[in-house]
């Protein structure tokens, strides 16, 4: 069973936190700090499995992680999970994000954290793998996004004409917000 999924950047800032068991808020932050300290001191030429730490349910747990550019994707699992299988699952998660955000980078996770949660919810549910077929995942995400857009359209009808001009600016703004010096995650996925 997966106990927690954490996405943390190279400086220890959390970008996504999902716990499948209940932990008090302060404990969650402790787990984030300790986990980051454990994975950040490891070279890229050592294996991606870690035992240790004292915070999550005693001793039946491991950290399985991958490091992409500026982000660590860390799965805290118990002994019933296959280490190699989880590595592949991280890959599915990252590739799905890449397809949803068109060349995903850390800024996408920062500004769309709610959407990342929804995407993760279609891959892992209740601490277990729900779906690994990327096309199925993408299709479900797109259908739900469409519903959300339709609802936004209905409620915003009176201001539609005014919003037309603003939306054009917003789309332009989004393109320029992406900082060119942050390397893309997709370029590094092929190495794995």
């Amino acid at each position: 069973m997966i106990k927690a999924i954490l996405v943390i950047n190279n400086h220890g800032k959390p970008r996504l936190l999902k716990f499948y068991q209940h932990y008090p808020e302060e404990k969650q932050q402790q787990i984030v700090r300790e986990t980051f300290q454990l994975v950040s001191k490891r070279d890229d030429n050592v294996c991606n499995f870690l035992e240790g730490g004292t915070l999550i349910d005693g001793n039946d747990y491991r950290l399985i992680y991958r490091h992409y550019a500026t982000l660590y994707f860390i799965f805290c699992v118990d002994s019933s999970e296959s280490e190699l299988g989880i590595l592949d699952l991280i890959q599915v998660f990252v590739e799905t994000l890449d397809r949803c955000f068109e060349n995903v980078c850390e800024l996408d996770l920062i500004f769309h954290v709610d959407r990342v949660h929804h995407i993760l919810g279609e891959i892992v549910m209740g601490g277990m793998v729900l779906e690994t077929n990327m096309n199925e995942i993408l299709q479900r995400i797109q259908e739900q996004d469409k519903i959300q857009k339709q609802e936004a359209g209905i409620t915003a009808a009176p201001a539609r004409a005014v919003s037309a001009v603003k939306n054009m600016n917003i789309s332009q703004q989004l393109k320029d917000i992406k900082l060119p010096d942050l390397p893309s995650l997709s370029n590094l996925k092929n190495a794995f």
Partner: protein, 829 residues
């Protein structure tokens, strides 16, 4: 130009936000994130968060606000940063009750992230979940299932289990897979609700959709692990699972589930794991899956990680269900190939699995010993650690010399954390497998030198015990340790401690020439070693204590250097450390007592026990091959209910002398007066080894091969020690107490129609007794035949009653069987 455009956009955006707020519109999530990211200090970030939290609280008071959705999104971001967000729980409940999908989506996400199981809000969310589980829109039901799967409490499970079951029966694959995982969480939380899901789960395993199959497999695995009855129920489905697995193997290209050329590796891994649970300890079920396991093991592509994930799971399954020997060899060979893989993750899991596997199929793992040794040089510290552990597990009498060579090379450059563990394990290994005592001593001296200050104290005391207990070793030991101490050993304090103790006890042996070629050693040379080490600031306190004690003893063994010895002892009479100061003062007084001092400083009695070899037999004097013999086993578990509490030191020594000569924690076990410490955890694996397939040595303590049985010995009634599965084990006293020793005979009768092989008999006695077993007459017992084995019991305390716990292990039809028994009374003893 680009910068100017960005600035313009920023200004426009800021202007729009101001307009929005003027109209009462709360800040957008994007703006909050931007402000937090712009904060230069933690205090500034806190100020931004506090201000926005206050705004959110203010907005929550307006029940009709259309901005709840936006506010919750911001609150979740604040929560991720680690700031308090629990006040948003009730607002999440209101959102999930909204008809709009957008509101439900963010509301349920908030519920998953903010709610805890003790919250009163759970009753409210249960109501919303119940409504949404029956919603006609599949994505609303999906959200509800996802939330229930994440935060279910026991009450919530009981209320909603039937709703989840209804969804499992529907035709919607998207909801079925979610409901299956939801049921998994419900079963994990409230196991008795399993019954709700057993009927519908069978049909789930007949589905085509891979997501549904994945969820169903997960659910069945959990139910089987929770309940033996359910386990038996689902064993009938093994042919179905085998068929699914076969289809995945045989299917041609399927773009939907293809991952680098392999068909849905995740589902394959899940099914293999379920097969492992179903096949464990069940020969019939195991046979049903042997073929498919062999097929997966030989046909899966290994070029990509997904293929290795499947192979890895296959190996775990083969090992767990105790497949036939050929399949296990295939599994170990797969792990051997993993060890050669360039991917460090593959190597790591291979070493991990071989470590668990080595006791299942010892010989198969041995074949990959050379590759394991190579892993000691891996740059990855995790892999090196596993390789070290596996090397020790693979050591045996045959390969110990070559394996030791490799481990010592590793020890030379190992990290500090490895040196300590390596030293302890090396002592255990050398004690069990050494070809002779001299080799054992030489190897451990090398270990002490290479591991330096990281050698644990228990290894020091164990080496002292070894030297103390083996008289023929003492002359050699004192010579070797003297020369080792002469070299630059200041970085190896534990080595100095062992050397000092040994020189103190047996220093007079140094003066006797051992052979013509050796250089004569004089008293001056020996005292010179102490003179160069003791005053040094680099010498540790305990080493100095050992040194002063040794010098005091040398005061009675040497003659011409008495004055120098006395001066060295007095040197520390004003030492700042009280332990050392007191020792020096007292020894100085003793050395001037005349005749009395010789008695006080005599050789210590033999030390018979140490903390590391409590579970290991002592080394035999004669080279007797005893592959089928049983070692003496004395451990807490086996003797737990036989402990009569009558134990005590059998070598009472002068209390005054014993107390005075103790040198602190490091040599606590060096005194026969001290109680033996409990075995360290590492002994447990040795205990398990002894009962497994690992070859073990015979125990010969107290045994006399040449003793003839006296004539006309009375015949004593045999007792039945074990009677199980057609195997009867009888114990009979053939010679009662004589010189505190008695002889017994074990006879094992095979009343089954099948041949037993690898028969092993183990026995343990209470602390006041010692037992030594001879080899059995035959390790194989044909039908209606028997095997015999003689043993000798030594009594340490007169007039105590012997009690024995016994155990047998044997193989019949390729399966290992185990039997146990207790004998509380022996006629004739």
């Amino acid at each position: 130009m680009a910068t100017a455009v960005e600035l313009a956009i920023e200004k426009i955006d800021e202007y729009k936000s101001k307009i929005g707020r003027t109209l009462g519109t709360p800040m957008r999530l994007r703006d909050l994130i931007r402000q937090v990211r712009a904060a230069r200090t933690m205090a500034e970030e806190r100020a931004v968060v506090d201000r926005e939290s206050a705004n959110i609280r203010e907005s929550f008071r307006d029940d009709d606000s259309p901005w709840k959705c936006r506010n919750i999104a911001k609150l979740l971001y604040i929560h991720m940063l680690g700031y308090p967000a629990h006040f948003g729980q009730m607002e999440c409940m209101k959102l999930v009750a909204h008809p709009r999908f957008t509101d439900k989506r963010i509301g349920y996400l908030g519920a998953m992230l903010l709610l805890d199981e003790r919250s009163e809000v759970h009753m409210l969310v249960t109501n919303s979940l119940k409504n949404d589980l029956t919603c006609s829109t599949q994505f609303v039901s999906g959200l509800a299932l996802c939330t229930l799967g994440s935060i279910c409490s026991a009450e919530m499970c009981r209320d909603l289990a039937n709703e989840v079951e209804k969804i499992i029966k529907q035709n919607n694959a998207y909801l079925k897979k979610k409901a299956a995982l939801c049921a998994f969480r419900i079963v994990r939380k409230v196991p008795e609700l399993m019954e709700v899901f057993i009927p519908c789960t069978r049909s789930l395993l007949g589905e085509k959709n891979h997501g549904v199959l994945m969820g169903a497999t997960t659910l069945v695995t959990e139910m089987c692990e929770k309940s033996p009855d359910v386990l038996n129920h689902f064993k009938k489905l093994v042919p179905n699972l085998v068929r699914i697995l076969k289809n995945l193997l045989m299917s041609g290209y399927s773009p939907e589930h293809d991952v680098t050329g392999i068909s849905d590796p995740f589902l394959q891994v899940k099914i293999l794991r379920l097969l492992r649970v179903l096949g464990k300890d069940d020969v019939r079920v195991t046979e049903e899956m042997n073929d498919i396991l062999a097929q997966v093991a030989t046909n899966t592509e290994t070029a990509k990680n997904v293929g290795n994930a499947i192979l890895y799971e296959t190996v775990l399954t083969i090992m767990e269900i105790k497949s036939e020997s050929g399949l296990r060899i295939l599994a170990v060979n797969i792990l051997g190939r993993f060890l050669l893989n360039t991917d460090k993750n593959i190597r790591y899991v291979a070493l991990n699995t071989l470590l668990k596997t080595v006791h299942v199929d010892y010989q198969a793992v041995q074949r990959h010993r050379n590759v394991v040794v190579e892993c000691l040089k891996d740059p990855d510290i995790s892999i090196r650690k596993r390789a070290m552990e596996l090397c020790f597990a693979l050591m045996n009498r045959t390969n110990i010399a070559i394996m030791t060579k490799e481990v010592l090379i590793f020890l030379e450059t190992a990290d500090a954390e490895f040196k300590s563990e390596c030293a302890s394990r090396m002592y255990i290994a050398t004690e069990r497998y050494s070809p002779n005592h001299e080799w054992h001593l030489d190897t451990m001296i090398t270990v002490l030198r290479l591991a330096g200050k990281y050698v644990p104290d228990e290894v020091v005391s164990c080496m002292i015990q070894m030297i103390s207990a083996n008289e023929q070793l003492q002359s050699y030991a004192v010579s070797q340790l003297y020369h080792a101490a002469q070299k630059d050993a200041i970085n190896a304090q534990p080595l100095l401690q062992v050397a000092f103790w040994t020189i103190g006890e047996f220093g007079d042996l140094l003066l006797q020439p051992t052979d013509v070629d050796s250089t004569p050693i004089s008293e001056n040379d020996v005292v010179g070693v102490f003179e160069s080490v003791l005053p040094s600031a680099l010498t540790s306190l305990w080493t100095k204590c050992y040194g002063v004690t040794a010098l005091a003893k040398l005061g009675t063994r040497f003659q011409s250097t008495g004055d120098r010895i006395g001066a060295l002892v007095r040197m520390n009479q004003a030492h700042i450390q009280l332990e050392l100061q007191q020792r020096s003062v007292e020894f100085n007084v003793i050395l001037n007592l005349g005749d009395l001092r010789d008695g006080l400083l005599e050789r210590m009695p033999v030390i018979t026990h140490n903390s590391l070899n409590a579970a290991a037999p002592s080394m035999i004097d004669e080279e007797v091959s005893a592959e089928s013999g049983a070692p003496v086993v004395t451990n807490g578990d086996l003797l737990g209910d036989l402990n009569l509490g009558g134990g005590g030191s059998t070598n009472p020594s002068n209390d005054y002398s014993s107390d005075l000569l103790g040198v602190g924690v490091g040599s606590g076990a060096a005194s026969a007066q001290a109680p033996p410490p409990p075995p360290p955890p590492t002994s447990n694996s040795n205990i398990l080894d002894i009962f497994g397939d690992t070859p073990s040595s015979n125990a010969a303590g107290g045994f006399d091969f040449g003793m003839a049985a006296p004539a006309k010995e009375p015949t004593y009634q045999p007792v039945i020690a074990i009677n199980k599965g057609g195997i009867e084990v009888q114990l009979q006293v053939i010679e009662t107490w004589k010189n505190e020793k008695a002889r017994l005979r074990m006879t094992a009768y095979n009343y089954t129609p099948r041949t037993l092989s690898n028969y092993n008999f183990f026995a343990a006695v209470t602390k006041t007794f010692e037992i030594a077993l001879e080899p059995a007459s035959s390790p194989n017992i044909d039908p209606n035949e028997h095997t015999t084995q003689f043993m000798t019991i030594t009594r340490k305390a007169p007039n105590t009653t012997a009690r024995m716990r016994t155990k047998i292990s044997y193989i019949v039809d390729g399966t290992e069987q185990v039997g146990e028994g207790v004998v509380n009374e022996f006629p004739g003893l």
